[in-house]
Assembly symmetry: D3
Homo-oligomer: 161 residues x 6
């Protein structure tokens, strides 16, 4: 196996996908942000109000997915057909789980878009809460599953708590 993002001179390139067929592709990524129990309580309490931390994180994640090819140098700029982000508040572990599901119909997969959406949403939660808790940690961002395209279906073996 070889890295595909290098040309014959050993330099980075954006891989040519011109001969790949247009197929429907889906990628799901997940990550977590761990914080003090008090911080999580404040986020939950705040959700009852009109605007909330997670509403901003969600918009951030969706917008970042569309920006992926501008953040990740060798990513193709592609048309995304759908982006959805969900949150899982886990009071036991004092974490918020963030899951992004991205779809396209095209020549290349959308795992980077899903991972970027999760990263941006986690960073936004950090930003919105940092005045009360600078010790938050963004954890375990990984690809959960991916389908469509020649490489077939991928499913992570990682057990999320």
């Amino acid at each position: 196996m070889e890295f595909t993002h290098f040309n014959e001179e050993g330099r980075a390139r954006m891989v040519n996908v011109g001969e790949k067929p247009d197929t429907e592709r889906v990628a799901v990524a997940r990550g977590f942000i761990e914080m003090k129990p008090e911080t999580l309580k404040m986020i939950v309490a705040n959700r009852a109000k009109k605007g909330d931390v997670l509403a901003v994180a969600q918009v951030a994640g969706i917008m970042a997915a569309k920006e992926t090819s501008r953040i990740i140098p060798m990513c193709h700029n592609i048309f995304l057909t759908g982006i959805d982000i969900k949150f899982n508040i886990n009071e036991e572990n004092s974490t918020i789980g963030i899951e992004a599901r991205v779809t396209t119909v095209g020549k290349t997969g959308v795992e980077m878009e899903a991972l970027t959406a999760v990263s941006a949403a986690c960073l936004t939660v950090y930003d919105m809460c940092k005045a009360v808790d600078r010790g938050m940690v963004i954890k375990d961002i990984h690809l959960v599953e991916k389908s469509g395209g020649k490489s077939g279906i991928f499913r992570s073996e990682k057990q999320d708590v």
Copy 2:
């Protein structure tokens, strides 16, 4: 303590920092990407060549730091005076540690810029290596230290391996 990113209607806002003085500010953030030992070996072998995975990740991290206010909705758009990124290859844990140090002279801190640089660099390593290892995990992105500004010096208590 309260979240500062909400206005009196409970809606998100970009906090007014107009009355803060311009001071020198530094933030250091760190994160890790864990992969199969073979993937790490390929990255190390590849470094000997002209272009390498980490060179691309580094440019991505630096450029993302400058994009922070466009990725994180409530972040101020600020002038950064310097950005530096370092890598720590740990063959024992099969991880690459990525550390970003960002400086500014201004009215607001740069922790989001440092965290965003680390996230983008981790995502770029994932992208460059995903053809050989889709199970990589981005781990433990956190603020290491921060100085400058009224809130004083912050140093993480997190023990990095």
Copy 3:
């Protein structure tokens, strides 16, 4: 009828259009900027020269149409096949009418692109003239017509003066 931009948790999402066919789509939007008669006279006089206010507004409108998915959070990032902007100087009402016509071949309509082009062109006229007239008002930005796609043809009932 329901808002389509929300998921089952009630949170915003970018609607999945992956199953829609690629069809030719057109949208036309219109808006107005009202100003003092003297300001309008200056714009008209200036048009005789090499560069003019409306030439800059036109470039702004075309570029903003291409940026729509980065300005409007839930908009799809789509390939636009054509953008054209026209101006209608109305000395009687002391307004400039701005009309944008945007086309695509794709899975989703371009009404937001046409409305965004008109908005950016209006804002640019304001910017170029604000040193002489800060009281200008941007008025009645609306969709004039739209065709292509499952929802069929829309034609505004609004009577523009």
Copy 4:
């Protein structure tokens, strides 16, 4: 009086503000989006839930204010110290009023940033609701007041209903 955005050849330029002092500057802009009474009712009903139309519009407005110099060609790229957006639901007129207040400490005013924030927030409301009401109209975007800088205080004479 003269347009300031043209050079001696009659071509557009970005005006040199290098000799202006850094002063605190504020601008407030306002606009409206008019819709069917049923659409307004749906927005109000939806607000009770976790995410809402106005939460997305608010993030869009704040992010667009930071993008102003990339949307309006002759605008300076400036550091904004604060951005706040408020909504006024008027069931009698079946409109939502959107007001943006932007502040900076710098060499040039922020009226374009406030007007751009209002425009983007209005466009986002349109986008979120267009599946149920394509006839919405964005109305009367104008500068309400502005202070700081040599040109002194501006207050609109426009009477908003």
Copy 5:
């Protein structure tokens, strides 16, 4: 023959390509940056190390190709299937030749993307070396060849040294 980028009012527009078929298209562009022999020696010496001037220039060129429609006002925003950049160090002329090859499957050509990639890579070499040589000159950026689309194959008659 006529310029195609103007509408019937004589104003700039983004040409409508909606009726063009999707075909595979390739464009190759080339340019040079001329410098002092000592500067070129430093670049070559530096290449032996982990990061190098050309690695950064290459990432810049690839990212700029993806940004073309945001830099060149009347360019269509298109999906690129591949981007590759090569360098040719010519010690005799004390120049670095930069060649970009861009491909797409779409309705419009990619010559602007290839030319923009070369320009950005040249500018980046200048930026990375300007502390030692401000007199560098970017020379002879031109289209080398182009294929795909109705206008057929173009091959430059320019003789590169």
Copy 6:
């Protein structure tokens, strides 16, 4: 002398300018685009009309100057106080000369902004005219002069025709 854009590991960084004073800085850059005499005649003839090739090139150059830190990876994102672009039509050489003058008050120079403005304006002329002349060549983009900052005044020895 040494390249400043590398850290002690030999990797690229954004140089720390935090200790530099804020001074007024100016940079002037120039470049040329050479074309068939018939193409130049068409551009000149077209200038008499409302919109023209050079009006679009000028807006492109000004907007690109503001984007420099997003195109050139190691450039600081800085506030520009002014940007002006001038054209010199030379029928004898069948070229258009493009000169950009950029100013700032800050900690770092603006030569990259001036060079980027010239490059984008040249590329835009190419784009607007490519339907009639694909053989145009962008030539001799160079820094003409620079002042402000510790490195003092630079004046190019290059003789432009």
